[in-house]
């Protein structure tokens, strides 16, 4: 097993009359285990053009079976007007502007009948759409297995 940690620090000296400072560290473990760490990781960098919504992280039966997955996404652009929206299923979670990042658990939930183009049955890809300009994104997923596609030579 591997040991992977995520540490977050949130702070502001002036958003309230008193300073805020939060910090926490977690270890990324497999579902249903006390202390077995996730062993697989993908890390990508991609330019997301404007105009349509793209699949950033594909759903898969394996992600659904092993629901303790964690996703990190960061918008590497620097122009503050540039942003992307992040969605799961038909729900826009929120907008990542230049410099923003997010870190979420992802369980690839299933509530509907699976199809050949929809292995989890719920269109639970993580989708992204860029606005204003092409946005450069870095993203990672820590997981314990993805469904690998069988290669078919054409």
């Amino acid at each position: 097993m591997a040991t992977t940690t995520a540490t977050i620090s949130l702070g502001s000296a002036d958003i309230l009359s008193q300073a805020i400072s939060l910090s926490s560290t977690m270890t990324l473990y497999k579902d249903g285990t006390e202390s077995t760490g996730l062993e697989q990781m993908n890390y990508h960098r991609a330019d997301i053009p404007t105009g349509t919504q793209f699949v950033l992280i594909s759903e898969s039966a394996a992600l659904n079976t092993n629901p303790a997955n964690y996703v990190y996404i960061c918008n590497k652009n620097t122009d503050v007007t540039h942003y992307v929206t992040i969605s799961i299923k038909d729900e826009v979670i929120g907008s990542l502007y230049a410099g923003d990042w997010m870190f979420i658990p992802f369980n690839n939930a299933t509530t509907a009948t699976a199809g050949s183009d929809d292995p989890s049955g719920d269109d639970t890809d993580i989708a992204i759409q860029a606005f204003t300009a092409t946005n450069t994104i870095e993203y990672a997923m820590f997981h314990s297995g993805e469904t690998l596609l069988t290669h078919t030579a054409s």
Binding site: Y29, F103, A109, T124
Partner: protein, 143 residues
């Protein structure tokens, strides 16, 4: 304006052949500007034994945090949620939902930080997996 920062560091010495480490700091600003976010719910702690959906952040026009006066606007809320329970055997968790869409599971000790566009009805909800008391802390920064 206020200056609020959020820093993430992800690291592992053994998930790959070489050490892996990523760190980023975001300054929380209003949508499309360099102006710092000036509103927050403050840190909230809640304990629940419910196993049905519990609204954590209510984005409805009445009674909750209405991130946008116009729900069609792109806005910029940032949410931090942490499950303060012990991890135990790793079988107890809270499911995080946005409206009715499952995002993922927070096991004991886990946290998440994500942008939230809000809008009428797009509540942040949780569903604990057991009747064991679940204690969460959360904070929303918004414009």
């Amino acid at each position: 304006m206020a200056t609020t920062t959020a820093t993430i560091t992800l690291g592992s010495g053994d998930i790959a052949d070489s050490n892996f480490s990523v760190s980023n700091t975001a300054t929380l600003t209003t949508a499309g500007t360099a102006t710092g976010i000036t509103k927050t719910t403050g840190l909230t702690r809640v304990t629940t034994s419910a196993t049905s959906n519990v609204v954590l952040l209510d984005s409805s026009a009445t009674g909750g945090v209405q991130v946008a006066a116009n729900a069609t606007d792109i806005d910029k809320g940032k949410v931090f949620i942490q499950n303060l329970n012990d991890r135990g055997d790793g079988t107890k968790y809270v499911t995080i939902l946005l409206t009715a869409v499952e995002i993922g599971r927070l096991y004991g000790g886990d946290f998440m930080f994500f942008p939230w566009d809000g809008g009428d009805g797009n509540d942040v909800e949780i569903t604990p997996s057991s009747t064991t008391d679940t204690t969460l802390e959360y904070i929303l920064f918004y414009q």
